[in-house]
Protein backbone atom coordinates (compact mmCIF):
# COMPACT_ATOMS: atom_id res chain seq x y z
CA UNK A 1 0.00 0.00 0.00
CA UNK A 2 1.42 3.37 -1.04
CA UNK A 3 2.18 5.80 1.75
CA UNK A 4 0.32 9.10 1.82
CA UNK A 5 1.97 12.49 2.37
CA UNK A 6 2.75 12.35 6.06
CA UNK A 7 2.61 15.17 8.56
CA UNK A 8 5.52 13.84 10.63
CA UNK A 9 8.91 15.55 10.52
CA UNK A 10 11.78 14.44 8.33
CA UNK A 11 13.76 11.38 9.38
CA UNK A 12 17.50 11.07 8.88
CA UNK A 13 17.03 9.10 5.66
CA UNK A 14 14.82 11.90 4.33
CA UNK A 15 17.39 14.53 5.28
CA UNK A 16 20.16 12.59 3.56
CA UNK A 17 18.01 12.18 0.44
CA UNK A 18 17.19 15.90 0.32
CA UNK A 19 20.84 16.85 0.93
CA UNK A 20 22.10 14.46 -1.77
CA UNK A 21 19.64 15.71 -4.38
CA UNK A 22 20.18 19.34 -3.42
CA UNK A 23 23.95 19.05 -3.72
CA UNK A 24 23.72 17.69 -7.27
CA UNK A 25 21.14 20.32 -8.12
CA UNK A 26 23.28 23.11 -6.65
CA UNK A 27 26.44 21.97 -8.44
CA UNK A 28 24.50 21.96 -11.72
CA UNK A 29 23.15 25.43 -10.91
CA UNK A 30 26.70 26.70 -10.34
CA UNK A 31 27.91 25.16 -13.61
CA UNK A 32 24.99 26.63 -15.55
CA UNK A 33 25.49 29.99 -13.83
CA UNK A 34 29.17 30.19 -14.74
CA UNK A 35 28.60 29.01 -18.33
CA UNK A 36 25.80 31.51 -18.95
CA UNK A 37 27.27 34.46 -17.01
CA UNK A 38 29.42 35.73 -19.92
CA UNK A 39 26.19 36.15 -21.89
CA UNK A 40 24.03 38.47 -19.74
CA UNK A 41 20.86 37.86 -21.80
CA UNK A 42 21.09 34.09 -21.38
CA UNK A 43 22.15 34.41 -17.75
CA UNK A 44 19.27 36.68 -16.83
CA UNK A 45 16.47 35.08 -18.82
CA UNK A 46 17.59 31.51 -19.32
CA UNK A 47 19.70 30.26 -16.41
CA UNK A 48 16.84 29.87 -13.92
CA UNK A 49 14.81 28.01 -16.54
CA UNK A 50 17.69 25.68 -17.43
CA UNK A 51 18.26 25.06 -13.70
CA UNK A 52 14.55 24.37 -13.35
CA UNK A 53 14.61 21.95 -16.26
CA UNK A 54 17.51 19.85 -14.98
CA UNK A 55 16.80 20.34 -11.27
CA UNK A 56 13.24 19.06 -11.69
CA UNK A 57 14.56 15.51 -12.00
CA UNK A 58 16.34 15.67 -8.64
CA UNK A 59 13.45 17.44 -6.98
CA UNK A 60 11.00 14.80 -8.23
CA UNK A 61 13.22 11.98 -6.96
CA UNK A 62 13.39 13.63 -3.52
CA UNK A 63 9.67 14.48 -3.49
CA UNK A 64 8.53 10.99 -4.48
CA UNK A 65 10.95 9.33 -2.09
CA UNK A 66 10.39 11.54 0.97
CA UNK A 67 6.71 12.39 0.40
CA UNK A 68 6.44 14.66 3.42
CA UNK A 69 5.18 18.20 3.74
CA UNK A 70 7.86 20.83 4.13
CA UNK A 71 10.16 19.41 1.47
CA UNK A 72 9.68 22.22 -1.04
CA UNK A 73 9.93 24.78 1.76
CA UNK A 74 13.20 23.24 2.94
CA UNK A 75 14.49 23.05 -0.65
CA UNK A 76 13.86 26.73 -1.40
CA UNK A 77 14.88 27.92 2.08
CA UNK A 78 18.22 26.09 1.95
CA UNK A 79 18.80 27.46 -1.54
CA UNK A 80 18.20 30.94 -0.10
CA UNK A 81 20.53 30.29 2.85
CA UNK A 82 23.29 29.19 0.50
CA UNK A 83 22.77 32.29 -1.62
CA UNK A 84 23.02 34.28 1.62
CA UNK A 85 26.31 32.66 2.61
CA UNK A 86 27.60 33.34 -0.91
CA UNK A 87 27.13 37.06 -0.43
CA UNK A 88 23.48 37.75 -1.16
CA UNK A 89 22.22 37.99 2.41
CA UNK A 90 19.38 40.25 1.36
CA UNK A 91 18.00 37.29 -0.62
CA UNK A 92 17.40 35.11 2.46
CA UNK A 93 14.01 36.65 3.43
CA UNK A 94 13.06 36.74 -0.23
CA UNK A 95 13.71 33.02 -0.65
CA UNK A 96 11.85 32.26 2.59
CA UNK A 97 8.78 33.93 1.10
CA UNK A 98 9.24 32.00 -2.17
CA UNK A 99 9.63 28.80 -0.14
CA UNK A 100 6.45 29.50 1.79
CA UNK A 101 4.41 30.22 -1.34
CA UNK A 102 5.77 27.11 -3.09
CA UNK A 103 5.00 24.96 -0.03
CA UNK A 104 1.46 26.34 0.18
CA UNK A 105 0.80 24.99 -3.30
CA UNK A 106 1.56 21.51 -1.97
CA UNK A 107 -1.13 21.49 0.72
CA UNK A 108 -3.19 18.32 0.65
CA UNK A 109 -2.90 14.59 0.85
CA UNK A 110 -0.20 12.74 -1.07
CA UNK A 111 0.68 15.87 -3.05
CA UNK A 112 4.40 15.12 -3.24
CA UNK A 113 3.58 12.08 -5.33
CA UNK A 114 1.13 13.93 -7.52
CA UNK A 115 2.79 14.93 -10.83
CA UNK A 116 0.51 17.94 -11.40
CA UNK A 117 0.98 19.35 -7.90
CA UNK A 118 4.72 18.80 -8.11
CA UNK A 119 4.72 20.61 -11.44
CA UNK A 120 2.90 23.61 -9.96
CA UNK A 121 5.07 23.78 -6.84
CA UNK A 122 8.32 23.37 -8.76
CA UNK A 123 7.32 25.97 -11.38
CA UNK A 124 6.54 28.54 -8.68
CA UNK A 125 9.86 27.82 -7.01
CA UNK A 126 11.68 28.27 -10.34
CA UNK A 127 9.92 31.55 -11.12
CA UNK A 128 10.97 32.70 -7.63
CA UNK A 129 14.55 31.69 -8.45
CA UNK A 130 14.39 33.61 -11.74
CA UNK A 131 13.39 36.84 -10.00
CA UNK A 132 16.00 36.08 -7.32
CA UNK A 133 18.67 35.66 -10.03
CA UNK A 134 17.88 39.10 -11.40
CA UNK A 135 18.37 40.86 -8.05
CA UNK A 136 22.15 40.24 -7.78
CA UNK A 137 22.51 41.34 -11.39
CA UNK A 138 20.94 44.67 -10.54
CA UNK A 139 23.20 44.86 -7.51
CA UNK A 140 26.39 44.08 -9.46
CA UNK A 141 25.16 46.41 -12.18
CA UNK A 142 25.54 49.54 -10.04
CA UNK A 143 29.25 49.09 -9.37
CA UNK A 144 29.87 47.99 -12.94
CA UNK A 145 27.94 50.92 -14.38
CA UNK A 146 29.65 53.45 -12.12
CA UNK A 147 33.07 52.24 -13.14
CA UNK A 148 32.11 51.88 -16.80
CA UNK A 149 30.79 55.44 -16.99
CA UNK A 150 33.92 56.79 -15.29
CA UNK A 151 36.07 54.89 -17.78
CA UNK A 152 34.21 56.24 -20.80
CA UNK A 153 32.37 53.04 -21.72
CA UNK A 154 30.02 53.39 -24.71
CA UNK A 155 26.81 55.02 -23.41
CA UNK A 156 24.54 53.34 -26.00
CA UNK A 157 25.72 49.89 -25.04
CA UNK A 158 25.24 50.73 -21.40
CA UNK A 159 21.70 52.03 -21.82
CA UNK A 160 20.77 48.99 -23.94
CA UNK A 161 22.05 46.63 -21.23
CA UNK A 162 20.34 48.68 -18.52
CA UNK A 163 16.91 48.57 -20.21
CA UNK A 164 17.35 44.82 -20.63
CA UNK A 165 17.85 44.39 -16.90
CA UNK A 166 15.02 46.69 -15.80
CA UNK A 167 12.15 46.27 -18.29
CA UNK A 168 9.02 44.69 -16.68
CA UNK A 169 7.96 43.24 -20.05
CA UNK A 170 11.28 41.44 -20.39
CA UNK A 171 11.01 40.24 -16.81
CA UNK A 172 7.62 38.72 -17.61
CA UNK A 173 9.13 37.14 -20.71
CA UNK A 174 11.87 35.67 -18.53
CA UNK A 175 9.30 34.33 -16.06
CA UNK A 176 7.41 32.69 -18.92
CA UNK A 177 10.60 31.12 -20.30
CA UNK A 178 11.44 29.85 -16.80
CA UNK A 179 7.95 28.44 -16.28
CA UNK A 180 7.96 26.64 -19.65
CA UNK A 181 11.38 25.10 -19.01
CA UNK A 182 10.42 24.10 -15.46
CA UNK A 183 7.24 22.41 -16.71
CA UNK A 184 9.17 20.59 -19.45
CA UNK A 185 11.69 19.55 -16.80
CA UNK A 186 9.01 18.03 -14.59
CA UNK A 187 7.59 16.16 -17.62
CA UNK A 188 11.03 14.79 -18.44
CA UNK A 189 11.68 14.02 -14.77
CA UNK A 190 8.37 12.21 -14.44
CA UNK A 191 9.29 10.09 -17.46
CA UNK A 192 12.64 9.17 -15.89
CA UNK A 193 10.90 8.37 -12.60
CA UNK A 194 8.56 5.91 -14.30
CA UNK A 195 11.23 4.45 -16.56
CA UNK A 196 14.00 3.94 -13.99
CA UNK A 197 13.41 4.89 -10.38
CA UNK A 198 9.93 3.50 -9.76
CA UNK A 199 10.89 0.27 -11.49
CA UNK A 200 13.94 -0.04 -9.27
CA UNK A 201 11.76 0.60 -6.23
CA UNK A 202 13.76 3.53 -4.89
CA UNK A 203 10.83 5.97 -5.07
CA UNK A 204 7.20 5.40 -4.25
Amino acid sequence: MGKTTEKQSFGIRDIMTIAAMMVICFIITMIIGSVTLPFPVVYLYGSAGIDGFIGAIFYLVAANRVNKHGLLFAWAAIYGLIQGVMGYMFLIPYFLVVALIAELTMIGKDTYRNPVRNRIGWTINCIGNFVGCAVPLWWAWDSYQEMAVNSGFDADTLSMQFSMATSPALMILGAVITAVLAILGTLFGQRLLRKHFQKAGIVG
Partner: protein, 233 residues
Protein backbone atom coordinates in the same frame (compact mmCIF):
# COMPACT_ATOMS: atom_id res chain seq x y z
CA UNK B 1 53.46 14.79 6.78
CA UNK B 2 54.19 16.95 9.84
CA UNK B 3 52.92 19.95 7.89
CA UNK B 4 49.67 18.15 7.19
CA UNK B 5 49.29 17.27 10.87
CA UNK B 6 50.00 20.87 11.89
CA UNK B 7 47.47 22.11 9.34
CA UNK B 8 44.83 19.72 10.65
CA UNK B 9 45.65 20.65 14.25
CA UNK B 10 45.17 24.34 13.50
CA UNK B 11 41.92 23.74 11.63
CA UNK B 12 40.63 21.63 14.51
CA UNK B 13 41.48 24.42 16.97
CA UNK B 14 39.13 26.94 15.37
CA UNK B 15 35.43 27.00 16.20
CA UNK B 16 32.88 26.58 13.40
CA UNK B 17 31.01 29.68 14.56
CA UNK B 18 34.15 31.79 14.10
CA UNK B 19 34.53 30.70 10.47
CA UNK B 20 30.82 31.29 9.94
CA UNK B 21 31.32 34.79 11.38
CA UNK B 22 34.24 35.36 8.99
CA UNK B 23 32.00 34.27 6.10
CA UNK B 24 29.29 36.69 7.20
CA UNK B 25 31.87 39.52 7.45
CA UNK B 26 33.10 38.64 3.95
CA UNK B 27 29.49 38.78 2.70
CA UNK B 28 28.97 42.18 4.30
CA UNK B 29 32.18 43.57 2.80
CA UNK B 30 31.44 42.18 -0.65
CA UNK B 31 27.93 43.63 -0.48
CA UNK B 32 28.65 47.03 1.06
CA UNK B 33 32.11 48.04 -0.15
CA UNK B 34 31.96 50.05 -3.36
CA UNK B 35 35.65 50.42 -4.11
CA UNK B 36 38.39 47.96 -4.98
CA UNK B 37 40.69 49.09 -2.14
CA UNK B 38 38.48 48.10 0.81
CA UNK B 39 37.40 44.91 -0.89
CA UNK B 40 40.98 44.05 -1.76
CA UNK B 41 42.26 44.66 1.78
CA UNK B 42 39.64 42.38 3.31
CA UNK B 43 40.33 39.70 0.69
CA UNK B 44 44.02 39.92 1.60
CA UNK B 45 43.11 39.47 5.28
CA UNK B 46 41.15 36.31 4.45
CA UNK B 47 44.06 35.19 2.26
CA UNK B 48 46.37 35.53 5.28
CA UNK B 49 43.96 33.55 7.46
CA UNK B 50 43.83 30.72 4.92
CA UNK B 51 47.64 30.72 4.75
CA UNK B 52 47.86 30.57 8.56
CA UNK B 53 45.69 27.45 8.44
CA UNK B 54 48.13 25.93 5.94
CA UNK B 55 45.85 26.21 2.92
CA UNK B 56 48.56 27.92 0.85
CA UNK B 57 47.66 26.52 -2.56
CA UNK B 58 43.96 27.28 -2.25
CA UNK B 59 44.65 30.75 -0.82
CA UNK B 60 47.12 31.59 -3.58
CA UNK B 61 44.76 30.21 -6.23
CA UNK B 62 41.79 32.23 -5.01
CA UNK B 63 43.81 35.40 -4.55
CA UNK B 64 45.42 34.97 -7.98
CA UNK B 65 42.04 34.62 -9.69
CA UNK B 66 40.77 37.57 -7.64
CA UNK B 67 43.64 39.79 -8.82
CA UNK B 68 43.22 38.62 -12.41
CA UNK B 69 39.50 39.45 -12.30
CA UNK B 70 40.17 42.93 -10.92
CA UNK B 71 42.97 43.68 -13.39
CA UNK B 72 40.81 42.31 -16.22
CA UNK B 73 37.89 44.45 -15.14
CA UNK B 74 40.01 47.60 -14.98
CA UNK B 75 41.53 46.91 -18.42
CA UNK B 76 38.17 46.03 -19.99
CA UNK B 77 36.46 49.16 -18.78
CA UNK B 78 39.45 51.33 -19.71
CA UNK B 79 39.79 50.00 -23.26
CA UNK B 80 36.09 49.19 -23.76
CA UNK B 81 36.64 45.46 -24.27
CA UNK B 82 33.48 43.42 -23.77
CA UNK B 83 34.82 39.84 -23.81
CA UNK B 84 34.88 38.16 -21.35
CA UNK B 85 31.90 40.07 -20.03
CA UNK B 86 32.90 42.72 -17.46
CA UNK B 87 29.83 41.69 -15.53
CA UNK B 88 31.27 38.18 -15.25
CA UNK B 89 34.56 39.53 -13.90
CA UNK B 90 32.65 41.77 -11.51
CA UNK B 91 30.70 38.79 -10.17
CA UNK B 92 33.87 36.64 -9.96
CA UNK B 93 35.79 39.09 -7.81
CA UNK B 94 32.77 39.77 -5.61
CA UNK B 95 31.96 36.10 -5.06
CA UNK B 96 35.52 34.93 -4.43
CA UNK B 97 35.72 36.80 -1.13
CA UNK B 98 32.87 34.91 0.64
CA UNK B 99 33.96 31.69 -1.09
CA UNK B 100 37.36 31.76 0.67
CA UNK B 101 36.11 31.52 4.30
CA UNK B 102 33.36 29.16 3.09
CA UNK B 103 36.15 26.85 1.89
CA UNK B 104 37.73 26.96 5.35
CA UNK B 105 34.31 26.08 6.79
CA UNK B 106 34.21 23.02 4.56
CA UNK B 107 37.64 21.92 5.83
CA UNK B 108 36.49 21.72 9.48
CA UNK B 109 35.76 18.11 10.49
CA UNK B 110 32.02 17.45 10.27
CA UNK B 111 31.78 16.33 13.93
CA UNK B 112 33.34 19.57 15.11
CA UNK B 113 31.25 21.66 12.74
CA UNK B 114 28.07 19.96 13.92
CA UNK B 115 29.03 20.51 17.57
CA UNK B 116 29.71 24.21 16.90
CA UNK B 117 26.64 24.86 14.80
CA UNK B 118 24.39 23.14 17.35
CA UNK B 119 24.96 26.19 19.53
CA UNK B 120 23.49 28.50 16.89
CA UNK B 121 19.70 28.83 16.88
CA UNK B 122 19.09 27.16 13.47
CA UNK B 123 16.49 24.34 13.26
CA UNK B 124 18.40 21.08 13.75
CA UNK B 125 17.06 19.49 10.56
CA UNK B 126 18.06 22.44 8.35
CA UNK B 127 21.48 22.53 9.99
CA UNK B 128 21.92 18.81 9.33
CA UNK B 129 21.00 19.24 5.65
CA UNK B 130 23.57 22.05 5.33
CA UNK B 131 26.32 20.02 6.98
CA UNK B 132 25.55 16.92 4.90
CA UNK B 133 25.55 19.07 1.74
CA UNK B 134 28.94 20.52 2.67
CA UNK B 135 30.33 16.99 3.11
CA UNK B 136 28.49 15.54 0.14
CA UNK B 137 29.76 18.00 -2.49
CA UNK B 138 33.24 16.42 -2.99
CA UNK B 139 31.65 12.95 -3.14
CA UNK B 140 29.21 14.08 -5.80
CA UNK B 141 32.00 15.65 -7.85
CA UNK B 142 33.94 12.38 -7.62
CA UNK B 143 30.84 10.43 -8.68
CA UNK B 144 30.35 12.79 -11.64
CA UNK B 145 33.87 11.91 -12.76
CA UNK B 146 33.17 8.18 -12.45
CA UNK B 147 29.94 8.42 -14.44
CA UNK B 148 31.70 10.50 -17.11
CA UNK B 149 34.44 7.84 -17.39
CA UNK B 150 31.85 5.09 -17.72
CA UNK B 151 30.04 7.07 -20.42
CA UNK B 152 33.29 7.58 -22.32
CA UNK B 153 34.11 3.87 -22.19
CA UNK B 154 30.64 2.99 -23.49
CA UNK B 155 30.99 5.51 -26.31
CA UNK B 156 28.26 7.91 -25.22
CA UNK B 157 30.67 10.86 -25.24
CA UNK B 158 32.62 9.96 -28.38
CA UNK B 159 32.01 13.34 -30.05
CA UNK B 160 30.47 16.74 -29.34
CA UNK B 161 28.20 16.23 -32.35
CA UNK B 162 26.86 13.01 -30.87
CA UNK B 163 26.08 14.75 -27.58
CA UNK B 164 24.42 17.69 -29.37
CA UNK B 165 22.33 15.36 -31.59
CA UNK B 166 20.98 13.45 -28.58
CA UNK B 167 21.08 15.88 -25.64
CA UNK B 168 18.18 14.30 -23.74
CA UNK B 169 19.62 10.79 -24.07
CA UNK B 170 23.04 12.01 -22.93
CA UNK B 171 21.46 13.75 -19.96
CA UNK B 172 19.52 10.62 -19.06
CA UNK B 173 22.64 8.44 -19.26
CA UNK B 174 24.48 10.86 -16.96
CA UNK B 175 21.74 11.65 -14.47
CA UNK B 176 20.22 8.22 -13.82
CA UNK B 177 23.42 6.50 -12.56
CA UNK B 178 24.34 9.68 -10.72
CA UNK B 179 21.05 9.64 -8.81
CA UNK B 180 21.29 5.91 -8.07
CA UNK B 181 24.82 6.23 -6.72
CA UNK B 182 24.01 9.33 -4.68
CA UNK B 183 20.94 7.74 -3.11
CA UNK B 184 23.00 4.69 -2.21
CA UNK B 185 25.60 6.87 -0.48
CA UNK B 186 22.82 8.87 1.22
CA UNK B 187 21.30 5.65 2.58
CA UNK B 188 24.67 4.48 3.87
CA UNK B 189 25.29 7.84 5.54
CA UNK B 190 21.81 7.74 7.09
CA UNK B 191 22.39 4.22 8.43
CA UNK B 192 25.76 5.25 9.86
CA UNK B 193 24.27 8.35 11.53
CA UNK B 194 21.35 6.38 13.01
CA UNK B 195 23.70 3.75 14.40
CA UNK B 196 25.66 6.56 16.07
CA UNK B 197 22.49 7.82 17.73
CA UNK B 198 21.67 10.94 15.73
CA UNK B 199 17.94 10.37 16.18
CA UNK B 200 18.24 10.03 19.92
CA UNK B 201 16.20 12.78 21.60
CA UNK B 202 18.69 13.32 24.42
CA UNK B 203 21.23 16.19 24.49
CA UNK B 204 24.17 15.45 22.19
CA UNK B 205 27.76 15.58 23.31
CA UNK B 206 30.69 15.75 20.95
CA UNK B 207 34.15 14.26 20.78
CA UNK B 208 35.31 17.78 19.88
CA UNK B 209 35.35 20.60 22.43
CA UNK B 210 33.29 23.44 21.08
CA UNK B 211 34.14 26.74 22.73
CA UNK B 212 35.22 30.17 21.57
CA UNK B 213 38.91 30.41 22.49
CA UNK B 214 41.36 33.34 22.42
CA UNK B 215 42.22 32.69 18.76
CA UNK B 216 38.52 32.80 17.85
CA UNK B 217 38.01 36.08 19.71
CA UNK B 218 41.07 37.55 18.02
CA UNK B 219 39.94 36.51 14.53
CA UNK B 220 36.40 37.74 15.11
CA UNK B 221 37.47 41.09 16.58
CA UNK B 222 40.03 41.83 13.85
CA UNK B 223 37.65 40.67 11.10
CA UNK B 224 34.78 42.77 12.42
CA UNK B 225 37.03 45.85 12.67
CA UNK B 226 38.51 45.21 9.23
CA UNK B 227 35.04 44.71 7.75
CA UNK B 228 33.84 48.07 9.10
CA UNK B 229 36.99 49.88 7.87
CA UNK B 230 36.86 48.20 4.45
CA UNK B 231 33.22 49.15 3.97
CA UNK B 232 34.02 52.78 4.78
CA UNK B 233 37.09 52.94 2.49
Amino acid sequence: MTGEKEKQRRIEKIDGRTVLFLTVCACIVTFLSMGFVGHGIFTFWIFLILCWFGLYKQAAGCFGVYLLAIVGLILETKYQISFPSPLLLSMVYKLLLPAMPAYLLAKIPSGKLTASLRKIPIPARIMLVLIVMLRFAPTVLHEFGEVKEAMKIRGFLKSVGNVLRHPMDTMEYAIVPMVFRSLKIADELAASAIVRGIESPCKKESYYVSRIAALDWFLMAVSAGAAVCCCVL
